[in-house]
Amino acid sequence: MEALEILLSASFWIATIRIASPLIFATMGELLCERAGVLNLGIEGIMTAGAFAGWYTVYAGGDLWLGVAVAALTGMMFGLIHGFLTVPLGLSQHVTGIGTTLLATSITYFIYRVLLPQETSPPKIDPFAPLPIPFLSEIPLIGQALFAQTPLTYLAFILVGTIAWILNRTPAGTAIRAVGENPAAVESQGISVTLVRMSAVAVGSALMAVGGAFLTMSAFNSFFFEMINGRGWVCIALVVFGSWKPGKALLGAILFAAFDAYQVRLQSVVGNVVPYQVFLMMPYVLSILALIVMSRRAGYPKALMIPYLKGER
């Protein structure tokens, strides 16, 4: 019975939305890349780089929003590396993506050690503070969760709508979806496939980096190694779970976050009988099950992972 009461506590819902926020940013970023036909396995490393870049900007005296911008630019830079190798050069997207992750992660750790050689425990910054919205945040149960979060969380939700709008209502979105399905059709209409794919990967990677920065600038207040901890890989799965649609991917992110928030609370209820590792495992096991159920009929972009080289016979 206590296990069910968790669902009725406001703190559970607040934690769910907070855990979901970085996943939403990064999932939207990955979704954008994949809709354009480029798998971006650089996500894990790009999130790491973003987490560090944003946090360090603030630590060095920058404004919080400047930190977000620097994180986005850092992500974009790694995105351009991944994009250059996979789009105009047409290299394997899997291999390049893993390479990008290794590169971004290692460079980040290296720079961290160069910039902060003396620190034994990571220094702290003043992160984004919650910004409660009057009246709405008073709603019982979900008011605090949805309307008393930090500005970055609000931004994450706005982003989902924006991405959906771009994909479905704008000429650029039509071009992005088209290069993900049939790049030859796009070229025959006079649009450069390379330009569209590179732009999508650059912007998508910027969003991933902001997702990473959320962790150091909103959820926590410092940067430490291994803090991304597989969140990037989860986002890859969330894109599949959401059938490459922003709205469904958002639901997936919230669901995953809810599992995560629930297991922490469940540990204190039945933790004395079940080893805690089982709880840590739960969100991942449930994601795998959800993926099996949801992605059976997933309509993946037809040209995903297929390089398009002009004039190739």
């Binding site: 704008t170 071009a175 979806r177 399905e181 796009v186 025959s188």
Partner: protein, 519 residues
């Protein structure tokens, strides 16, 4: 009316001059000149592989020509830039439609016509324009339908609308009737006539004579990448165009009379059912005797692939009986085929013939590495495979730096010699030679033909599949034509000439059957 257009050279819409394009050693286009006048329909006629599509892809900027100039309405346009081609007023209806199946008609048409940085697509305005356009030229399509749900005929209309929506004044149609039912084809012709009467110019690519005769004012014939003839349609006739297409009457070299042996391979009422093939075999009977070359002519894509796949063991018989030296094989696989002494010269030498990244020696034993000759207790016997490789390289005059060189670094001709050596050195009894000289230069072609004739004189049964009629006529002892998965009656060498065979290859197929094939 037509003659005015042709003689009055004032209104030139398009001029291609000196276009040359090579893929490796193969010249797909060799110094091609082509002109098109306002309100004129030019049919670009030629067999498969004559270079028609390559030429149009160059015009449209998909390929970059090695040499040559493109002029549209008097202005030279940059090469290799589809955007420039579109902006100059060229519209292309691709043979394999350049459409996004998952999106609707409207999105497909509007793609690329709006500013990419706009905040919102002006879909309502576009919908109105498409409706107006489609009703004014009689191209009926629902703008909100998902393209993937449309019939091929409708998809083609979308392709044409795409071009017209951008204000195309020159329309290029690449084999537009290949996918259409006869009824749809008639509708297309009617639409084209309306468009042309309104001042549009068109290039109509085809390998079907009757269509070219019906729709065009002028015919340009391509063969092996070169323009071999240019005729005013009404002053020409199908016979003349056929001989231009397939080449002048070919001299058939004197070859010795075949010495017939026993029946090696016997196909009786065979049908296949290979889902991924558009055309399967239908009730095919054919028997190959030792000591004879049987030539199978036909426009490619008429069931040759299914037949080759059956004989090389990658496909099972669905109906009918296949006997090899009188026996029906219990199991049928590529390995069984190899062990029954069937030699395979595959159509695509780097795709199904050799493994490009592996070495010469590995490729040479790749069909037989498991035999006692090349392995012992599951380990390769290095010496045997090296000896065999050196033997093949010497006997078949393969030019390669070493037997450890990756095969993809060799020229097409040398790769083909390796394939020949690999299978012929073992004196096989049945040889399946599928397009054995495709893309080879004259010298290599003569060499391959010589080797095939030698194998025949040694007593092998050879099936030569080729879409090069010249080749078939030169070295076959008897000839059959495959069309739509069926074989024609077999004729002896010299009985039929180019024209008659050409007619069999491109003969009109009854409409009911074409409908079936489209599904």
């Amino acid at each position: 009316m037509i003659s005015n257009k042709i003689e009055g050279r004032r209104d030139l819409a398009l001029r291609l001059s000196g276009i040359t394009k090579r893929f490796g050693t193969l010249s797909a286009n060799d110094n091609v000149d082509l002109s098109l006048h306002k309100g004129e329909v030019v049919a670009l006629l030629g067999e498969n592989g004559a270079g028609k599509t390559t030429l149009m892809n160059i015009l449209f900027g998909h390929y970059l020509a090695d040499q040559g100039e493109i002029e549209v309405f008097g202005k030279s346009i940059p090469k290799g830039d589809p955007r420039a081609a579109l902006d100059s007023g060229i519209g292309m209806v691709h043979q394999h439609f350049a459409l996004v199946e998952e999106m609707n008609v409207l999105e497909n048409i509007v793609l690329g016509t709006e500013n990419l940085l706009a905040i919102k697509s002006q879909k309502n305005t576009a919908r109105e324009r498409i409706r107006d356009l489609s009703s004014s030229v009689g191209l009926d399509v629902n703008p909100d339908a998902i393209v993937g749900s449309l019939s091929v005929g409708e998809k083609q209309r979308v392709e044409i609308l795409k071009a017209l929506y951008r204000g195309a004044r020159i329309l290029i149609l690449d084999e537009p009737t290949a996918v259409l039912t006869p009824f749809e084809a008639e509708k297309l012709f009617a639409t084209l006539k309306v468009l042309v009467s309104e001042g549009l110019s068109a290039i109509f690519i085809s390998h079907k004579l009757n269509e070219a005769m019906e729709i065009s004012d002028r015919v340009v014939v391509l063969r092996k990448g070169r323009v071999v003839g240019e005729k005013i349609t009404r002053d020409s006739n199908p016979e003349e165009l056929t001989s231009l297409m397939v080449g002048a009457e070919i001299e058939t070299p004197e070859i010795s009379a075949p010495v017939l042996g026993e029946v090696a391979l016997d196909l009786e009422n065979i049908s296949t059912n290979i889902p991924e093939m558009r055309i399967n075999l239908r009730n095919v009977s054919l028997s190959l005797n030792c000591g004879e070359i049987t030539g199978l002519a036909g426009v490619s894509g008429n069931g040759q692939a299914a037949l080759a796949s059956l004989i090389s063991g990658t496909t099972q018989v669905k109906e009918g009986t296949m006997r090899i030296f009188g026996e029906i094989p219990e199991r049928w696989s590529p390995k069984v085929a190899v062990s029954k002494s069937i030699a395979r010269i595959p159509e695509d030498r780097l795709h199904t013939g050799m493994i490009g990244d592996m070495s010469v020696v590995e490729n040479i034993i790749s069909e037989k590495y498991w035999t006692d000759r090349f392995s012992r207790f599951g380990f390769l016997t290095r010496q045997a495979s090296e000896d065999f490789s050196h033997e093949v390289i010497k006997n078949y005059d393969v030019k390669c730096p070493s037997i450890e060189t990756p095969v993809r670094l060799l020229s097409g001709g040398n790769i083909q010699k390796l394939i020949l050596g690999r299978v012929l050195d073992e004196s096989p009894l049945i040889i399946l030679a599928n397009q054995p000289t495709r893309g080879l230069d004259v010298g290599a072609v003569a060499y391959v033909h010589g080797q095939l004739l030698k194998a025949r004189d040694r007593g092998a049964a050879i099936l030569l599949i080729s879409d090069d009629l010249e080749e078939i006529l030169q070295i076959s002892d008897r000839i059959s034509v495959i069309s739509n998965g069926r074989l024609s009656k077999i004729t002896r060498r010299g009985e039929l000439g180019v024209k008659e065979l050409g007619a069999l290859m491109t003969r009109h197929v009854p409409s009911s059957e074409r409908l079936n094939d489209a599904t």
